[in-house]
């Protein structure tokens, strides 16, 4: 994976005048598997196994992949909600993995997260106002209750909810509204980056579009950068500037959104794209049906992790891990077909 690093570094070097907001280099998260009498670590679940990416200010970076590919773990590791095993996370040029807990807490003002489940991510015992004022209290943003309330009302308006409902409890809101509250909470500290972890997956289509539009609007108004994590390729494609496709803890392809759709390079990306049902009964379908299931991340296949399911697999795929290469400008892929 050294290549990954060098390539990304190269990219960073090239954009020196425009320093990315977030740079992640060779991020790894391995969960130990313990067995036996003394609970020895006998192996690791390689949930994230060397992921590198960068996000510019005001940019949306989409992270897509199927369940278990490590996209959520990546998102949370970036925030150190899960302590990463290895790698560098540079936010505004500073490695947050080296920060002490107090400094890290201050840093959190700048990076926020929106969760998938709008039911579970809001404390049922808090009113919406308490939910929104919590970050202000944590960071001592305002000295008076009136100021906090004013800010909370403001936040409600920003996410399109009526401030008159501030004193209601989360369960009195619909799913989409709850997700708006979750976004408002993230905005309360004026972050520069929001990690949106499957923010619309639990929502109905009609509501999903509302939330996607809101995220779009906020980005434009506030200059936010997003890392947008989802399994739904059409949603990711819709919102993202650049997209990384993950498979089994690794990034297999990274490209601008339109390029990924028009010209997916990695066979996995191709299969993923072709599998998305198209809401048009007359559409032509050249479906690639993948064989078999996702292998266990504790025992990833040798060589290219995708080779057992790949229609184009060659002998080399079984033994050699493909390198991460920029095939076209800004279009990276890890596949032997292109080397």
């Amino acid at each position: 994976m050294a290549d990954v690093q060098t390539v990304e570094q190269g990219k960073i070097a090239a954009d020196k005048e425009k320093m990315p907001l977030l740079v992640v280099r060779d991020l790894k998260k391995h969960f130990p598997i313990k067995r036996g009498l003394i609970q020895r670590t006998v192996g690791h679940v390689r949930a994230v196994d060397g992921v590198s990416l960068s996000v510019d200010t005001g940019e949306t970076f989409g992270l897509v992949g199927e369940s278990g590919c490590g996209k959520s773990t990546t998102g949370r590791s970036i925030l150190r909600l899960i302590e990463p095993t290895a790698g560098e996370i540079l936010f505004e040029g500073r490695d947050i993995r080296k920060m002490g807990s107090a400094e890290m807490r201050r840093m959190r003002r700048k990076m926020q997260i929106v969760f998938q489940d709008p039911y579970a991510s809001l404390n049922p015992r808090y009113t919406v106002r308490q939910v929104l004022e919590e970050p202000m209290l944590i960071h001592n943003l305002f000295s008076t209750a009136a100021e906090r309330k004013k800010r909370a009302s403001q936040l409600m308006e920003i996410v399109g909810l009526s401030p008159s409902r501030l004193d209601r409890y989360p369960h009195e809101f619909s799913g989409g509204q709850r997700q708006r509250i979750g976004i408002a909470r993230a905005l309360a500290v004026d972050p520069k980056l929001i990690i949106a972890d499957e923010p619309v997956s639990a929502l109905d289509v009609s509501v999903q579009s509302q939330v996607l539009n809101l995220l779009d609007d906020l980005q434009k108004e506030l200059g936010l950068a997003y890392v947008f994590i989802a399994h739904d390729l059409s949603v990711v494609k819709h919102i993202s500037d650049r997209i990384g496709v993950m498979y089994l803890g690794r990034m297999v392809e990274l490209s601008p959104a339109d390029a990924l759709y028009s010209e997916p390079l990695h066979p996995y990306s191709q299969a993923l794209l072709s599998a998305v049902p198209v809401p048009d009964p007359e559409a032509k379908r050249d479906r690639i049906i993948l064989q078999g299931d996702l292998p266990s991340p504790s025992k990833p296949p040798t060589g290219c992790p995708f080779h057992p399911r790949c229609k184009d697999a060659k002998d080399i795929c079984k033994t050699v891990v493909p390198t991460w290469e920029e095939i076209r400008p800004d279009h990276f892929v890890a596949c032997h077909l292109y080397s």
Binding site: R106, R108, Q112, A120, P135, I138, R185
Partner: protein
């Protein structure tokens, strides 16, 4: 112990994200679970009797009446003077039942508070900090749970000396294990909630997460557990009295009244029945209430 299991189960249910806010659920609860009414009434009645025992009493509960014994020296059946009859020392059972409410309630409540305090503290520490501390505390819990409770309380009281304080200290000190386990389990699951993650992401400190988020979440199961344990401990007090180490005489507790009554129950059943009925109603009250509260805190069960 079963209550524990059940409670653990109940807690699992409580963990589910409430669809509805607890407060408006109360009247639905009452409709769905009418027995909680009965429980509430019984517990309120018990508290009333305990508080106003001096006003309600007919006689001094500890006074031994010369005319309170039959010619043979036996207790008197209920009559116009002694409405519940007298015991084998010629004391008025009615007044003793009233004052017994105080003592029994005291034992039940104080011992439960002790185990509540120890159990909750250890459970939180164990669940939140995990690792070595968790291992040690859970091992200690295993040890406490493996003890035959009654034998152990009896032996402890025998070593400490018999007094009401020692009694609830013994019951309380031995009863925390269940609370600790339940609290730990609750902390562990609350810890995984996304809103805890969210708070962490917002930069909340451990202390803030512990006090503002985790603690409020362990309150419902702990209330349920404590309510049930008050009843259980009242019952335990009666068993300990039966074994001869209950509340020190001459103070009446329902437990030691029952223990006295069981000795002559074939001859003078009223010595057994009045305190027995009182104890039954009180313990039942707490059980019904605890049960109802469990339902109340369980969003899935109230539709």
């Amino acid at each position: 112990m079963a209550t524990v299991m059940e409670t653990q189960n109940g807690i699992k249910q409580t963990l589910a994200y409430p669809q509805k806010k607890p407060a408006p659920r109360v009247w639905r609860l009452l409709k769905a679970y009418p027995l909680v009414f009965l429980g509430g009434i019984l517990v309120l009645g018990l508290i009333f009797v305990a508080v106003f025992a001096p006003q309600l009493q007919h006689f001094n509960p500890n006074q031994q009446f010369q005319n309170g014994l039959s010619a043979m020296g036996g207790p008197l059946p209920p009559n116009s003077t002694f409405v519940f009859g007298t015991d084998d020392l010629g004391r008025d059972i009615f007044s003793r039942v009233l004052f017994g409410a105080r003592v029994s309630l005291e034992v039940g409540v104080f011992s439960s508070i002790i185990s509540l305090f120890i159990g909750t503290s250890l459970g939180i520490i164990s669940g939140y900090f995990g690792k070595f501390v968790d291992t040690v505390i859970m091992r200690l819990t295993d040890i406490m749970l493996a003890f035959p409770l009654i034998l152990f309380v009896v032996a402890l009281v025998a070593s400490l000396g018999q007094s009401i304080t020692n009694l609830f200290i013994a019951i309380g000190v031995l009863g925390w294990a269940v609370t600790a386990r339940v609290v730990r389990a609750q902390v562990l699951s609350v810890k995984e909630y996304e809103y805890v993650q969210a708070a962490k992401a917002l930069g909340a400190s451990n202390w803030r997460i512990l006090t503002k988020i985790i603690f409020p979440n362990i309150i419902p199961p702990v209330i349920v557990l404590t309510t049930l344990s008050i009843g259980n401990n009242m019952l335990l007090e009666s068993t300990l009295s039966y074994l001869g180490i209950g509340v020190a005489p001459p103070n009446a507790s329902w437990g030691n009244m029952l223990a006295e009554g069981q000795q002559v129950f074939q001859y003078a059943p009223w010595l057994l029945y009045y305190p027995g009925l009182a104890l039954l109603l009180a313990v039942l009250g707490f059980n019904l209430l605890g049960d109802g509260l469990r339902e109340a805190f369980n969003p899935r069960r109230v539709r």
